[in-house]
Symmetry: C2
Subunit: 233 residues, 2 copies
């Protein structure tokens, strides 16, 4: 028997076909929320795929909160109702890779919110960490070096200070892709970076003063160039 190594796309298709199989089990085999899924071994046999493929598919559905594995016991369907399960699985199957415009749009949305929340909720420790990130950014820019990383770390420090762990996680998810694209398209040239220092300082001051409205305003100003760039692609 000849074995082949699958490309990432082929593997994605295998995973999706397993997810479809699990969806069909829920739909046509009376598998209700809360019930136990057939064991990984049975699923791998039924779908003619390896057990590791089954495990990966289960992990993906677990990430989206649709399944829950319990060691030495079984994998269980989340208790969110069969209709929601179906709708969500359908959506997950059709999810496409995020484009850069989506990322920037989402980033701006998150940042304008986290900076307000940070102004309202920041602790003294948060302030210190934001200040530290600001200083690192400033130093790099003054030396004429590329400071995309320090820029993003400043924004991540604000997200952390927002006290909202969900938004913090989401910011972390999009940040590497943002950095990669910024460096690829040279979004931040030296002139923008010089301006950036002042803008960052103003954002920091607003958070320090606990003025959420001002903080949001200054963040909006900071993103003005980015906005323009994004809508001119």
């Amino acid at each position: 028997m000849k074995l082949e190594v699958l490309t990432k796309n082929e593997n994605q298709e295998v995973q999706n076909s397993i997810i479809k199989g699990i969806r069909d089990l829920i739909n046509y085999k009376n598998l209700e929320p809360g019930d136990k899924l057939p064991s990984e071994r049975m699923l791998s046999e039924k779908f003619k795929v390896s057990r590791s493929n089954v495990r990966e598919a289960i992990q993906k559905l677990e990430f989206y909160g649709l399944l829950k594995s319990r060691p030495q016991s079984g994998t269980f369907v989340a208790n969110i109702g069969v209709i929601a399960l179906n709708g969500m699985i359908e959506d997950i199957l059709r999810l496409e890779e995020p484009d850069f415009k989506s990322l920037v749009e989402t980033r701006i949305l998150l940042e304008l919110k986290t900076v307000r929340l940070a102004a309202l909720r920041r602790t003294e420790e948060d302030l210190e960490q934001i200040k530290e990130a600001l200083n690192a950014y400033e130093k790099k820019v003054i030396n004429g070096e590329d400071a995309v990383q320090e820029d993003l770390l400043f924004h991540l420090a604000i997200a952390k200070a927002s006290g909202n762990s969900t938004m913090n996680t989401f910011m972390l998810i999009i940040t590497p892709e943002i950095i990669t694209n910024f460096e690829k398209y040279h979004v931040c040239d030296k002139g923008l970076a010089q301006e950036g220092i002042k803008e960052h300082q103003k954002i920091f001051d607003a958070i320090l003063k606990q003025d959420p409205k001002l903080a949001k305003e200054k963040m909006k100003a900071h993103f003005k160039a980015l906005y323009q760039y994004c809508y001119n692609i």
Copy 2:
């Protein structure tokens, strides 16, 4: 040698210690972005853990965009700079489980944005799917049945119509947790659901008319009760 099954928390700690190990490799062993990580076998030996544990930790860092595995070749450090890598790994290690308040806060933020974008960008097919979800919700509520799932599917249909795949993904991530908590705390009782039909209809009409401002307004009104609930916990 006695083996024990690890609880989820213990496993989390194992994973975090591997992530710390990888961080140290980057910091102290001249492992620069773009370089190849030591092989999974070497890491599992070095950190005295199983290869599957190493693979899981790598997958987690891959999810956050910090590593990239290439079959039959190696795992590579993302090209986002050593400073960003360090900052992000630190943040990932300290990430906490999201609380319900964070989830609701994030949901409202996303929904007020996606509904605006949906009003601007919705296709005819989007409209049909939103209408379908609206009808399903209506039917359930009129029959006096619990309609939390249909409610959320209506909102997911709007997120899909926003044309922003990142926001759509984020909505999917938070939805199951939202459903679970809603059902647990009985956030939507029958009276709210009756009101919900009218509110959903108004949101749909605004999207149909391609009026983003109105759509956001109606969505805000829809969340008014939720707002109150959330800040009274």
